[in-house]
Symmetry: C2
Subunit: 105 residues, 2 copies
DNA sequence: ATGATCTGCAACTATGGGGTTGCACAAATC
DNA sequence: GATTTGTGCAACCCCATAGTTGCAGATCAT
């Protein structure tokens, strides 16, 4: 059913600050320090969030000289969406079946 | 962008126990007590999880006599998946644009 | 009416996680 | 070489939350 590594991704997406980071990264790669300039949180806090996002494969680090820029991996987001879609469809199907049985068809 | 109520849904989906509950409910409506019989957690814990799931519209309470059964709302899951899909596509599009610019096309 | 069962609310514990400050270190800049 | 700027690590605070126990109130069965 591949629900294995899916839950941590949702957990990662269940935080407003991380969405802010993803939104900021959506306008171009950026380092933790650069992000700290735009968001109302410390660089260290952002670094932790980036670690979480990297852990679940939503973001990718890229060394540029002495700084580390991060890039959003859009495909991972799409994958997650498709897997969620599949589960939703499966549920709809199953619930329809249950409803039929309940109505005695 | 409708990212408004989306984050809490992901937060709700970012917990293994809640997925267990959803999986159990996928095999038919059940009450908190019934669920407590199958899962290795207390009824009260399950009740809290059900409250969270209801809060974000993933589940729906149905009074049956003295007990309260819960039903999965598959459409909410599908909606969430579609919205995530849309965001993912948007990102892919934007990142592709950025890449083009970066490569000087 | 009594007992069994299911729900609801409340208090309490404890672990995790978001956030901070502080410092040490690496790498550009001057 | 000295200074700046960016990263990494560690300790710490604080609050949200997953989980528990305990009890009171409904509701169904006998």
């Amino acid at each position: 059913m591949t629900t294995g590594t899916l839950v941590p991704v949702f957990a990662a997406l269940g935080d407003e600050t991380r969405w802010s980071i993803l939104a900021a990264l959506g306008e171009g790669d950026a380092s933790a320090s650069a992000l700290a300039g735009r968001l109302p949180v410390t660089r260290q806090a952002i670094a932790k969030h980036l670690a979480v996002l990297q852990e679940v494969g939503l973001v990718e680090p890229i060394r540029v000289g002495r700084e580390v820029q991060y890039r959003v991996i859009g495909s991972q987001l799409s994958d997650t969406a498709r897997r969620l879609e599949a589960i939703g469809a499966e549920w709809d199907r199953r619930l329809a079946t249950i409803k039929e049985i309940a109505e005695g068809l």
